[in-house]
């Protein structure tokens, strides 16, 4: 895997950055040009993202497609290493050495899990620009920061170098802070923006220390006892020829993990391996951004305070950044730690699912309902990771995409209603489907997805997660000192399923009240239908829910191929 050529992914990162810089230099009064550059850049990255998504399988290096190739290898019964499978699954790679003496490289690529995320980011980027079309206050700065945010998010999804993942992760935080603090809901924005930023940063810097520790542990291994493994990987082409023993390349770190470099005992405590010690830092550090209980507190406030476009990208994409990074930097690089810790972390995710749904049910504010529903649905993603089997994790991967599009759609709907009615108080809204039929239909589609109706993407995502939980129930045992807890995943899945019922309850309540109730024609006399740009937003975000629901093979095998290396690493079949 040389990855010397130019990759489309590089264009995907740099188009928004360049667009953002150009926009900053424009005349602030030239709003049309600002919007024009914004939508052009966003459409370009969406087009490239579509190319990445649909081109992933047929990417040139594999005959008959990457996914079928992987399947054929598995069927041949070969004993495949997780690191090798991960490296094989990467498409559109590009690698430029950045800081050679530290093994840091600009290294991008997508695998089966990140390709759908790239597509999702593109969709939300376009939708976000369109829904911000009529922002009055400092449109230029808004658009520029939005572009930087999009670039940062893309960077995390396509990073193959662990350092680069952190670089873009931190890069995304600052524009997000300014967007919320500068353009958000006046009552809450400063508090919420700061709270969100601090929560996320605290998580990520602890993860960063963990990552540095991993870098040294892996380096010491490859320079010492693992030198032959390193040489073998170099000669087989698994690692680039100019690799050093100390490196941030995730393939190399995965290889170290697979060969037991992180199983070393630390602090002199028996049973406390390196992987076990650092896994909570890595997984929960990023899990903060995925809203894992008890670190979910920033999320509803953040979503509610943010301007619509930012809520969309935030709940739609950024929370997935957290879940994705927790998977990549946590589960993939420290599988031994995952074995130990995920069996108790699953309790936290259960709280997410049920408690989030219950609180959503109690909200009067339309946007808070959606904010807490995100907490609840993201809990399902983490729960999927915790199953540690192919079915459950694949479901979680699909849920990331499905929930991303769905929640962005929800926030778009809330924004459209709020812009025209100037209130988000559910009891005082009603009958809006009469004046805004498109919005009403979009909400219903999103709502049905959210409660897992077959035929929509939510079902495709949630069903495998629950199935995976049942399957995991027999295999996973939680050690609590001398006490062993087993077969409890089955119990949890029953409780988690009740979250779906609660979801149905609050979705129906909101739909019934806001869209079907009594319409107050006097108060809302000036509420009109939405215009073309808003309709495009609803289509971009709504259509994938239906397409994926009706035709899962468009995405499921791809995610499965991205999950298989992890299963190999976790020691499963």
């Amino acid at each position: 895997m040389d990855g010397t050529g130019f990759s489309v992914l590089t264009a995907i990162i740099f188009i928004p950055i360049i667009a953002g810089v150009v926009i900053l230099f424009l005349d602030r009064k030239n709003r049309d040009l600002v919007r024009g550059i914004g939508i052009t850049a966003a459409s370009a990255v969406l087009a490239l993202s579509l190319a990445v998504f649909f081109g992933y399988d047929s990417f040139a290096k594999a005959e008959g497609g990457l996914i079928s190739q992987q399947r054929a290898l598995l069927e041949s019964g070969a004993d495949l290493s997780g690191a090798q499978m991960f490296a094989d699954a990467l498409a559109f790679e590009q690698r430029i050495v950045w800081v050679e003496s530290l093994g840091i490289a600009y290294h991008v690529g997508v695998d089966g899990v990140s390709a759908p995320m790239v597509l999702l980011t593109g969709m939300v980027a376009v939708a976000g620009v369109l829904i911000s079309w009529n922002i009055q206050d400092r449109l230029r700065e808004f658009m520029a920061f939005f572009m930087f945010l999009v670039a940062g998010v893309y960077g995390v999804f396509i990073a193959v170098d662990l350092f680069m993942l952190f670089f873009f992760y931190e890069l995304a935080i600052f524009p997000m802070y300014l967007l919320i603090a500068g353009w958000g809901w006046v009552k809450l924005r400063e508090y919420a923006a700061m709270k969100l930023t601090l929560y996320i940063l605290v998580g990520s810097v602890f993860a960063l220390v963990g990552a540095v520790a991993m870098y040294f542990a892996a380096g010491a291994y490859f320079a010492g006892s693992g030198a032959d493994v390193f040489q073998a990987a170099l000669s087989s082409g698994l690692l680039p020829a100019d690799s050093r023993a100390y490196s941030w390349n995730m393939t190399q770190l995965t290889l170290a993990a697979e060969n037991g470099a992180f199983a070393i005992e630390i602090l002199g405590i028996e049973g406390l391996s390196f992987a076990r010690f650092w896994f909570p830092f890595m997984f929960m550090g990023f899990g903060v951004l995925a809203g894992v209980f008890p670190f979910h507190n920033w999320s509803p406030d953040g979503h509610v305070a943010a301007p619509t476009a930012v809520s969309m990208i935030h709940a739609g994409v950024l929370m997935k950044v957290g879940a994705f990074a927790a998977l990549r930097a946590g589960v993939q690089l420290l599988p031994d730690g995952a074995d130990t810790h995920l069996p108790w972390i699953v309790f936290l995710t259960l709280i997410n699912v049920v408690y989030g749904a219950l609180i959503a049910f109690r909200q009067r504010d339309f946007k808070y309902v959606i904010g807490f529903s995100s907490v609840s649905h993201m809990g399902l993603v983490s729960m999927g990771w915790a199953t540690m089997n192919l079915t459950g994790m694949t479901g979680a991967g699909i849920q990331m995409f499905s929930h991303g599009a769905m929640t962005a759609l929800f926030f778009g709907v809330v924004g459209m209603v709020y812009d025209r009615s100037h209130t988000r108080d559910i009891p005082s809204l009603g009958g809006f489907i009469k004046v805004m039929p498109w919005v009403g239909v979009a909400f219903v589609i999103g709502g049905l997805t959210s409660m897992g109706m077959p035929g929509l993407s939510g079902f495709i995502a949630e069903f495998p997660i629950f199935q995976g939980m049942w399957a995991a129930s027999e295999q996973i045992t939680l050690q609590l000192g001398g006490f062993q807890l087993s077969n409890y995943y089955g119990v949890m899945v029953v409780i988690a399923a009740s979250g779906i019922v609660i979801t149905a309850a609050y979705v129906l309540r909101v739909a019934g009240q806001v869209f079907f109730g009594e319409f107050d024609a006097e108060r809302y006399h000036d509420v009109g239908n939405i215009d073309m740009t808003d309709r495009i937003v609803l289509i971009i975000l709504g259509a994938p829910l239906i397409i994926l629901g009706l035709y899962p093979p468009i995405m499921a095998p791809m995610i499965e191929s991205g999950i298989r290396p992890l299963i190999a690493l976790l020691g499963g079949g």
């Binding site: 900053l24 950045w98 800081v99 050679e100 003496s101 530290l102 700065e141 350092f163 670089f167 873009f168 931190e170 890069l171 935080i173 600052f174 802070y177 300014l178 603090a181 500068g182 924005r189 400063e190 923006a193 700061m194 930023t197 601090l198 940063l201 605290v202 810097v205 602890f206 960063l208 220390v209 540095v212 520790a213 870098y215 040294f216």
Partner: protein, 498 residues
């Protein structure tokens, strides 16, 4: 090995150049025409910028520094560590001159530039000194001009007070340090840093208490210069009282030069293998520095949270930054020190530009509005978008957010700490980085989000000034992206001469 005078000359060329430049500037200011006097600033800035090229062109011979050979009778090191610090000090001097140019009562006086040049001379000497005598001479050559600069605005009571405080504390710290030096000399009978280690190694200072006392006294002196807790009391008052260009200069030059010297002093005089009276002396100073580092960053950051004056806030932030940088010095304990040395050098390199950028922006803001309150920065984005952007880039770099240079700077420090098995210290440092980010973000929020009463009054950004700020900002971004590799590799070389 014998060297001809000619072969030794490049090692002190910047010093000779600075002395010449000082004389030129002195006479140009005294006897020059009005036009010449107005151009003193450009003569000084261009002179120092040109001299910064000298260490880049005349590279030291690796055979020389790897064998530990000293020049000029054992006084001067000629190695990459000294070169990198010389470059950054000279650039810092040049940028300071440009930033002071328009400042009333400071930049319009020719002697200001003279004093800056002499102070830079002291710093440049410090970064290559390898003998206690030269160390002290260099230190005072840097310090005395800084005392003068701090009270440069003679009519202003705050400036006078700041200068006086700085002088009194400084003189006291110098005296303690000098006492430490004399103890070391007394134990070992030599003033050469390497010689001290050799003599201690063969039992010259068998009284461990005496050696430790000397070491602590030296650390006190350095602690004062880098404004580490508990020797930081002068910092807020001097930063607040001194004319802002001076504050900028004090905050970078004296700190960078002292770190260069601290690294060299500890590794040369108290190296890894040194055992005195059965005690591994290195463990002692590493632990001492860890404590100072933790206290400095925590106190600096926590107190900075409560500041409403931008210069005082930056003062406490610089105390915290000294604490971070000390992590790199405390990590100097492996056999291969290159990570730690490189992290300190890189951090100082990026810190100089970052701090000058922030202060440069703040200078202009204070000059235009005559207020130093953070709350008065409200709406700065509307009054001068460029100024707000420059300050923001600087603050992001201080806070360690990519793509600004500070991200890599902090990352290298934490990495060095983890490598030296100081994971706990690294965790405390990242926690501190978050606290710090809070107050940096608040300033950015005030500039971009809050509405101020003077929103409609634009602040003019003079063209020359905008260029110098702009270039500094670009350097800060480059140091965080594509220029990381060359500078970091250069910084890594620095360990070779130790």
């Amino acid at each position: 090995m014998e060297f001809s005078l000619w072969a030794q000359l490049p090692s002190v060329l910047p010093e000779i150049g600075l002395t010449t430049l000082a004389i030129v500037v002195l006479f140009a200011d005294l006897y020059g025409s009005v036009v010449t006097r107005r151009n003193v600033v450009y003569i000084s800035a261009a002179g120092m910028a040109l001299l910064a090229l000298v260490p880049l062109v005349w590279l030291p011979d690796p055979a020389l520094y790897e064998s530990g050979t000293l020049l000029w009778g054992g006084m001067v090191n000629y190695d990459p560590l000294s070169q990198i610090f010389k470059v950054m000090l000279l650039l810092a001097g040049a940028v300071t001159c440009l930033m002071a140019a328009g400042d009333k009562g400071v930049g319009d006086k020719g002697e200001f530039y003279l004093i800056v040049i002499v102070a830079t001379l002291g710093g440049v000497m410090m970064s290559s000194a390898s003998d206690l005598i030269l160390v002290f001479v260099a230190l005072e050559t840097l310090s005395i001009p800084l005392y003068m600069l701090a009270c440069f605005r003679r009519g202003d009571a705050r400036s006078a007070e700041g200068g006086m405080k700085y002088f009194l504390y400084g003189a006291f710290a110098s005296a303690i340090m000098l006492f430490g030096f004399s103890l070391l000399y007394g134990f070992t009978g030599t003033t050469n840093l390497g010689g001290i280690a050799d003599a201690l190694g063969v039992g010259a200072g068998d009284s461990i208490v005496g050696v430790m006392t000397a070491l602590v006294m030296v650390v006190v002196g350095f602690g004062f210069k880098i404004s580490a807790v508990p020797f930081h009391f002068w910092t807020p008052d001097v930063y607040e009282g001194a004319p802002t260009p001076v504050t900028a200069f004090v905050s970078v030059s004296s700190k960078a030069a002292s770190f260069a010297l601290l690294v060299r002093f500890l590794t040369a005089a108290f190296p890894v293998e040194l055992v005195v009276g059965g005690v591994i002396i290195q463990d002692f100073w590493v632990n001492l520095l860890i404590v100072i580092s933790i206290v400095s960053m925590t106190l600096g950051n926590v107190v900075a949270l409560r500041q409403s004056n931008i210069k005082r806030l930056l003062a406490y932030s610089s105390i915290a930054q000294a604490g971070y940088t000390l992590i790199g010095v405390a990590a100097l304990q492996g056999v291969d020190d290159s990570l730690a040395v490189a992290s300190v050098s890189f951090y100082m390199f990026m810190y100089i530009f970052t701090n000058l950028l922030v202060f440069g922006g703040v200078i202009l803001f204070i000059a235009a509005t005559d207020t130093e309150e953070i709350s008065d920065m409200a709406g700065l984005n509307r009054r001068s978008p460029w100024l707000a952007l420059f300050i923001t880039i600087g603050l992001l770099s201080l806070g360690g957010i990519p793509p600004a240079a500070g991200f890599f700077g902090k990352f290298f420090l934490f990495q060095a700490a983890v490598d030296a098995n100081l994971v706990g210290l690294a965790l405390i440092a990242v926690t501190n980085a978050i606290i710090a980010l809070y107050y940096y973000l608040v300033i950015i929020k005030v500039m971009y989000v809050d509405a101020g009463p003077d929103d409609d009054k634009p602040i003019a950004l003079p063209r020359a000034y905008a260029w110098s700020l702009g270039i500094t900002a670009v350097v800060v971004i480059l140091l965080g992206t594509i220029a990381v590799t060359p500078i970091y590799d250069w910084a890594t070389l620095g360990a070779a001469g130790l």
